[in-house]
């Protein structure tokens, strides 16, 4: 199917370029370490404070890293003057959205795995037995964040103050996802179990579907820009 193949070639291109330049990955790894220190210094004085806040801090970390990683989704298109090329290539433009989204998801998952690992090691988070559930929650939350982020990155690619506008657009829409993922993460880490937060998971799922569909349908209008 041509759609899948075209989306794949966009993913292939982004992965190849990232592998060669390693720009994003290096910076994000470093950023994750910094976050750790930041959280420790801001809240680490009182052990209990920190433990209680951990689910929130985890997602704060994911979102901050996400803003950085997703905001630059179309940076290479801009820098290499290829934006027009994407628009001119005949075919369904949402294939490009899918390819970019896939690349962003890979990047986000890599960074989130690192942040989670750092949390487990430095903040003593006990993930024994709940890792699959945790991964499921992180997956649900990240898909929504990436779907929004990829779309808005396309929008802000041409705006002068894009680093300011991008978070302003993403964060308000991110609030339901944030509330849901933090609560669900809390439930998983405190061994309450996913069943207790079934309604939250449904909300996250609904949000993901809404944002993905909106992204697929409206991306061509953004690309025209």
């Amino acid at each position: 199917m041509s759609f899948g193949r075209r989306a794949y070639v966009v993913l292939w291109k982004d992965v190849l370029i990232e592998c060669r330049s390693k720009e994003a990955l290096n910076a994000l790894v470093f950023f994750s370490l910094l976050l750790l220190f930041l959280f420790q210094f801001a809240l680490g004085g009182d052990r209990d404070h920190l433990t209680a806040a951990l689910p929130g801090l985890l997602w704060l970390g994911f979102i901050l890293a996400g803003l950085l990683a997703l905001g630059r989704s179309f940076l290479i298109e801009r820098e290499n003057d290829c934006w027009e090329g994407l628009l001119l290539a005949p075919g369904d433009k949402s294939a490009i959205y899918l390819g970019k989204l896939a690349g962003n998801l890979l990047l986000m998952f890599a960074v989130e795995a690192l942040v989670l690992l750092l949390f487990v090691v430095f903040f003593n988070v006990d993930v024994a037995g709940v890792l699959p559930a945790l991964v499921a929650v992180i997956g649900l939350g990240t898909v929504g964040l990436a779907a929004l982020g990829t779309l808005f990155a396309g929008m802000t690619a041409h705006v002068r103050a894009r680093e300011l506008l991008f978070p302003v657009l993403v964060l308000p829409l991110q609030v339901p996802l944030l509330l849901g993922t933090v609560r669900a993460t809390e439930a998983v880490l405190s061994r309450e179990g996913l069943a207790a937060v079934g309604h939250w998971l449904a909300l996250l799922g609904a949000a993901d579907v809404i944002f993905l569909v909106a992204g697929f349908l409206t991306f061509e209008f953004i690309l025209e820009g």
């Binding site: 779309l151 929008m155 705006v159 506008l165 308000p172 339901p176 509330l179 939250w200 909106a214 820009g225």
Partner: protein, 221 residues
């Protein structure tokens, strides 16, 4: 909309608002537990309802219409609706805060309604900011339309998530339904009158704003 129609609408709005004021502060009885401060609900609730549902609803539909037809009228309607919605939501927040001080002792509380309205307010501001920061008018309209579709879609998600968040984190006694507690017919009447008045206010402001936007474009041509 024609100028005379807008003018008539304006007068109707003034009348309705006056009527609403009279009913709210004169006719409706003093609320038992909260006292006169409860009367601010006649301002707070209608502005919330009209801002959220009518304002964002029109923004949503007009944005879809713009993307499908590229009609500049649809775009002007979307933009005007967003602006008026932001104003109404600001009124909601401020009136909610004024109500909160004597009732709960603080200017701000993370009550479900107030939080939801604030998030919507911020989304509306983001929309206006997006449009303001893009120089190309056509692109601003197009990108605005995309956000104008996404933001209202987010509204039910925000409602549920904030409500669940509050009910699960706050003991029920603190979470009184707040200004939306309605008891008694006289209060309901006052509420409906003010609601109608605010719908008229919304319509008048949007019509005026759309007209202004159109005149701006015509003036340049």
């Amino acid at each position: 909309m024609r100028r005379t129609t807008i003018r008539v609408l304006g007068w109707l709005t003034v009348l309705a608002l006056l009527l609403g004021l009279v009913w709210g502060f004169g006719v409706a009885p003093r609320e038992v537990t909260q006292g006169n401060v409860q009367r601010i609900m006649y301002l707070h609730v209608p502005s919330a309802i009209v801002g959220e549902y009518v304002g964002f609803g029109v923004l949503f539909l007009a944005s879809i219409a713009y993307l499908l037809t590229r009609s500049e009228r649809a775009d002007r309607l979307a933009r005007a609706s967003a602006e008026v919605a932001v104003v109404l939501l600001a009124i909601t927040i401020v009136s909610g805060s004024i109500w909160g001080k004597p009732t709960w002792g603080t200017w701000w509380t993370w009550d479900a309604r107030l939080t939801t309205v604030t998030i919507l307010f911020v989304m509306g501001l983001a929309y206006l900011l997006l449009r303001g920061m893009i120089e190309d008018g056509e692109r601003a309209a197009r990108f605005g339309a995309v956000l104008g579709i996404l933001a209202p879609l987010n509204v039910p998600l925000v409602h549920f998530s904030v409500y669940w968040w509050r009910t699960l984190h706050q003991p029920p006694s603190l979470l009184k339904p707040g200004p939306s507690m309605i008891s008694g017919d006289a209060i309901k009447d006052a509420l409906y009158i003010n609601l109608a008045a605010f719908v008229l206010l919304y319509a008048y402001l949007v019509a005026t704003r759309v007209r202004l936007l159109r005149r701006e474009v015509e003036a340049l041509a």
